[in-house]
Symmetry: C2
Subunit: 269 residues, 2 copies
């Protein structure tokens, strides 16, 4: 029976690869890689090939979405294929789809989990992960159309006192990463239009940059002010806190430089 | 300046340790370890010492909570200390507390992220991670008192059509892991008392066991039926789906053996 192993690469560089993932990739008949579902800083296929000591086949979006990962399934059908992906595998629908195809074809599937922005950003922010509500991504506006879903998700989480993890779009083709500044400007612009209070300029927000690296920038403050700040590192992420426990408030002071005044700026809802 | 590096161990065994974490631990002056905040299957301090080629100091709850991690801070103040922890670091409040103490003492802090059940369980379930609401843990009842918060969180998520990740308690002192069966029986018993519909016996639920290992058990079905099923592997986790996209429904059929009939069993809310 053939085998397909999904291996997560973690957040950046080669250092996030789990020991088991390295071992499985070194022992595989074929190694595939995709880099379009999520941003990876300090990473290149060449560096990975050097670490593994073997060639790696880089797959494009078209290989997975239009061709259904045919190359991967063929390799997995006749031996052991490893498919290395950014972050934790199977968060992207395209990975789930490939897994289902493999199972239907009688291929055994294993998963080597790795670090994901879904736990890394909440945990490093000093906020409590079980107080986060639904997550949302702000997409780059396409042809002038700006969806308001991210604003609505934020409003709903705030009404329950929950924190919101707001991921920022990554355009793999253009190599373009959305910044905290762009994300906040989007939220403030929807607020101006709808006036429902979720993204008032005085609402507390956090910007995170370079999560997963040795130096992480975390800065918090009123949205209106933070929307003018420049973060250097990539990728960037926004967190909008809901109700704060005093332990969380203390953590935000120390970790994100939030002043006592700013902590009192706003109440959720 | 001293340095403290938090290194995540991932989900189980030694294979979840990120390459960077291994490197930092091998290069550190002192390595500390805790195993009480989260369950780790197939893991022992002795195996870790063998991998690192150096001694590891195992910390108990009392070392961190009562003594504030004094030993770790002392070691970090005078060199480089690595603190290895289950899952992704800083999800446990006790880690955040130690990080704040270190920063206040002028110690540089770095974090090596690793796999966490917070992303691994949702992603491997075939459900879409951005459709999960607030997470909750079902605790072992203490002195007969059973909190109803997990039920309330589930009800609230369902009313918004969101999925719920329900973590199950782990008693590190007794080495006891809560099972899917126990967790579901708890939910069904609160339903019987409150009758608000969140945990009706016919509501669809998923049980997951052994997430992070080579063989993962995922089974879905009506809560009443699933509450009688035995899962072999550890740790175990419950997911209660909210509204299902057809891609998610298809994934549950293949991955969790949910029948077409069961998929239509219930509507959220």
């Amino acid at each position: 029976m053939g085998k397909l192993v999904f291996v997560g690469l973690g957040l950046r560089g080669l250092g996030g690869i789990p020991l088991e993932g390295l071992e499985k990739a070194r022992g595989a008949d074929r190694v595939f890689l995709e880099l379009y579902t999520s941003p990876m800083a300090d990473f290149s296929p060449e560096k990975l090939e050097k670490l593994l000591g073997k060639p790696v086949t880089l797959l494009r979006r078209v290989d997975l979405e239009d061709e259904g990962g045919r190359k991967v399934l063929e390799a997995a059908g006749g031996g052991c294929a490893v498919f290395m992906v950014p972050g934790d595998p199977l968060i992207a629908t395209t990975h789930v789809d490939l897994k289902l195809r493999a199972l239907k074809a009688g291929v055994k599937v294993e998963v080597v989990h790795a670090a994901s922005i879904y736990s890394a950003a909440p945990s490093i922010s000093g906020l409590q992960i079980y107080k986060f509500g639904k997550t949302v991504t702000i997409p780059f506006p396409s042809s002038g159309y700006t969806p308001e879903t991210p604003y609505e998700v934020l409003r709903e989480n705030l009404s329950r006192g929950l924190h919101t993890l707001i991921l920022l779009d990554y355009d793999a083709e253009k190599g373009r990463w959305m910044t905290v500044k762009e994300g906040l400007q989007y939220l403030l612009s929807v607020e101006e239009k709808r006036g429902e209070g979720a993204a008032r300029p005085e609402r507390l927000a956090l910007g995170l940059a370079g999560v997963g690296g040795p130096d992480v920038e975390i800065r918090g403050g009123a949205m209106g002010r933070l929307a003018k700040a420049d973060f250097k590192l990539k990728p960037q992420t926004i967190i909008v806190p809901g109700s704060l426990h005093f332990v969380e408030a203390e953590a935000l002071k120390v970790l994100a430089g939030v002043s006592a005044e700013e902590l009192n700026l706003e109440s959720p809802g």
